[in-house]
């Protein structure tokens, strides 16, 4: 069943992205509405897939790279639906669902390990992975908003793309939504890193063991901290801030690549 649901979710996200692209570029309401329906249905399928993975494993499905990718895709797609419902940023359909699709695609590309009973992780570990995954999903939204912000900034600076200008949300609204997502994501990431460090200290009697899955989140956290502090104390906004947000998210994403849970 899981083998069928995840490819179905992947196909749904891809179809939704195609419809969202047509809806945005051609200003077609029909395609945009179709995209919303497809994304909602796909997210429901994705939710069922996660539940089945959890039931199958007999625990919260967040203990390996496969499960992390499935959960990250689900969280970012859910946040996309929320952003659409709240702010009607149609163009976000071109940025956030592709992340969900990539995540599900990545999960399908890696093998689905079976976990023996003795490997069942503790509550602390599950809390750490859940918070980190959710934090990365929020930061994914901030990343998406930063991309849209840069596109709008480019359109306004170049002064010659009215077609694109019409389809993008207002610069300040992008900034506002992205900033809110960044704050929540940063808090969750901080808690995630904190619990990770605490667990590492308990297991190996040292703060960090130096692996990629520890270095990259810390680097990402540092970048986000700079973005937030510069914004708070220096009023630092705009293009550079958006670029740093993108860099921070990509560093965070690199954690998954170096992940060997």
């Amino acid at each position: 069943m899981i083998q069928a649901l995840l490819p179905l979710a992947l196909a749904g996200y891809v179809l939704g992205v195609v419809l969202a692209t047509i809806g945005t570029v051609q200003s077609s309401r029909l395609a945009a509405r179709g995209a919303s329906i497809v994304f909602t249905c796909t997210w429901a399928v994705h939710t069922v897939a996660i539940l089945l993975i959890g039931i199958d494993a007999g625990r919260v499905p967040l203990t390996n790279r496969f499960e992390y990718l499935v959960a990250f895709g689900w969280a970012i797609a859910g946040l996309y639906l929320y952003v659409m419902a709240r702010h009607h940023f149609r163009v976000a359909g071109l940025v956030l669902p592709p992340l969900a699709a990539l995540s599900v695609g990545g999960a399908l590309a890696v093998s689905h390990p079976t976990v023996a009973n003795e490997d069942v992780p503790g509550v602390g570990f599950l809390f750490h992975t859940s918070i980190s995954t959710l934090g990365m999903a929020f930061l994914g939204v901030a990343f998406g908003m930063a991309i849209i912000y840069l596109a709008q900034d480019h359109a306004l600076k170049s002064r010659s793309t009215p077609g694109l200008l019409q389809r993008l949300p207002a610069l300040e609204e992008c900034d506002h939504v992205g900033f809110q997502a960044l704050i929540v994501g940063f808090i969750l990431l901080t808690v995630g890193i904190g619990t990770g460090v605490a667990m590492n200290t308990g297991l190996h009697s040292k703060l960090l063991s130096g692996g990629a899955k520890q270095i990259f989140p810390l680097l990402a956290w540092g970048v986000f901290l700079v973005v937030l502090l510069a914004r708070r104390w220096l009023g630092y906004r705009g293009r550079k801030s958006a670029l740093l947000t993108i860099a921070g998210f990509l560093l965070g994403l690199a954690t998954v690549v170096g992940m060997t849970l």
Partner: protein, 455 residues
């Protein structure tokens, strides 16, 4: 037949349009006068600052002449003036014209949105005066819904096409809502005032005008509910405003990159939008390269307007196609609507023939009981109905396909039918006239015009 006679900004000079211009309250009496003409079954009138149009429906082209008579009597406009300055549309062309007008495709500013409300108001006025009937009601409802479709499904009204509205649109694209934004206007130029008024109308709560001559700035500020400050005080506020409009007559830039960079450091807020509509320019162009600063001078704004006009023209091509489809849909409705009297006439003719033949043959039969006579009568009627069933269905289907115009005249001629016209007069096959589109007209209303004209 539907006939439309009108004058617009392209066809007639302003003084002529002024003579014909009607206020909202006058439309009712004008259409009532038109409707009083015996040739007119329905009447509608649209009057805006750029056009005056009269639409009538009657059983033949005489209804169109009723408009000429009215314009001659009321405005002393003879046919020669009308031929020179008015346009005349009949049948499908009248329908198409009205659809295009409602969609803003015939407007001075392509796709302008006000016309839709004006058509709606004119429709309400004509309907209140009781001068519209089934066809014109349906025509206007269809024109309004087609216009809404054209607006929502194409970009015909989406793009700003004046410098002031383009500036406001850009402000929306930067800030979203403008109801918590502050605007600083440097100078008191007319164009700057227009932009400021547009911004105010779009929710900007606070406008500050500063000029080297305080009195001028104060006078301008009073005109649109702004606050005037002295020149130096105004420049000091650069850090606390979101939008700056430059419209002074200064020979060189009054706002430098250095000043803006300093203001940015001080303001610690979001974007700064600078609208420079002064010539020579008021704001150094290098300001645009600063992060989070967007400077649009008059050339840039006109470039946006030109691009938008091009977008509207492209959207208009889509809208024309959409309107064509809607006109066809309306014509199909008309044909289906018009086929009703034809079917009724056919049915009546067959039933009467059946009745006549029954009476003729009853004399040759033995005396019948009452129940036998009743059965015989029912048999005749049933046979008539059965014979008519297939042709009736065929006619209805051909109407929905838009083919009844070719079939109906033949059928009418074959059975020498007469049908009642929509406005109560009776017309017979073959007594028509040649329509303006060259298709044989007259006879049974609308049907004998080859399906191309609406009657």
């Amino acid at each position: 037949m539907l006939t439309l006679v009108g004058m617009n900004h392209r066809s007639a000079p302003l003084d002529l349009r002024e003579r014909l211009a009607l206020s909202g309250s006058e439309v009712g009496s004008v259409v009532s006068q038109l409707r009083a003409d015996p040739a007119v079954a329905e009447a509608f009138c649209l009057s805006t600052c750029n056009r005056v149009e009269f639409l009538v429906r009657g059983s033949n082209s005489e209804a169109g002449h009723a408009i000429d008579r009215y314009l001659k009597t009321e405005y002393d406009l003879d046919r020669a003036i009308l031929d020179r300055h008015a346009y005349r549309r009949q049948g499908r062309e009248a329908i198409r014209h009205l659809f295009r007008v409602a969609a803003g495709l015939d407007s001075m500013i392509l796709g302008e949105p006000q016309i839709l409300g004006q058509v709606k108001d004119a429709f309400a006025a004509s309907r209140d005066a009781g001068t519209t009937g089934v066809v014109v009601d349906r025509l206007l409802q269809h024109a309004l819904s087609a216009a809404k479709r054209a607006r929502s499904e194409t970009g015909i009204s989406r793009h700003a096409v004046s410098v002031a509205s383009a500036a406001v649109k850009l402000a929306h694209k930067i800030f979203g809502k403008l109801d918590d934004r502050r605007v600083l206007m440097l100078g008191a130029g007319k164009m700057g005032e227009l932009v400021a008024r547009h911004l105010k109308a779009n929710g900007v709560p606070e406008l500050i005008v500063c000029g080297r001559r305080f009195n001028n700035a104060d006078r301008a500020a009073r005109r649109f509910g702004a606050r005037a400050v002295h020149w130096d005080d105004g420049l000091e506020q650069l850090h606390s405003v979101d939008i700056v409009i430059g419209c002074t007559g200064a020979p060189r830039p009054v706002v430098t990159r250095k000043q803006v960079a300093r203001a940015l450091r001080k303001r610690r807020a979001g974007a700064l939008f600078l609208i420079d509509i002064a010539v020579p320019r008021d704001i150094e162009s290098s300001v645009h390269s600063l992060d989070n600063v967007y400077l649009y001078d008059i050339d840039a704004l006109e470039g946006v307007v030109d691009d938008n006009l091009e977008e509207r023209r492209r959207a208009a091509q889509q809208a024309e196609k959409l309107i064509d489809g809607e006109v066809k849909a309306f014509e199909r409705w008309r044909e289906a609507h018009d086929i009703g009297p034809m079917i009724a006439a056919l049915r009546k003719e067959f039933l009467e023939t059946g009745e006549r033949e029954l009476q003729r043959f009853r004399g040759r039969l033995e005396p019948l009981t009452e129940s036998q006579a009743k059965v015989l009568q029912e048999l005749t009627r049933s046979l008539t109905r059965k014979f008519l069933d297939r042709p009736t269905r065929f006619l209805r289907e051909s109407a929905t396909r838009g083919e009844s115009g070719q079939i109906a005249p033949l059928l009418l001629r074959a059975f020498e039918l007469e049908i009642e016209s929509g406005d109560g007069s009776s017309e017979a096959q073959g007594d028509g006239e040649r329509g303006d589109d060259g298709v044989t007209g007259g006879g049974p209303q609308r049907l004998v015009r080859g399906g191309r004209d609406d009657g």
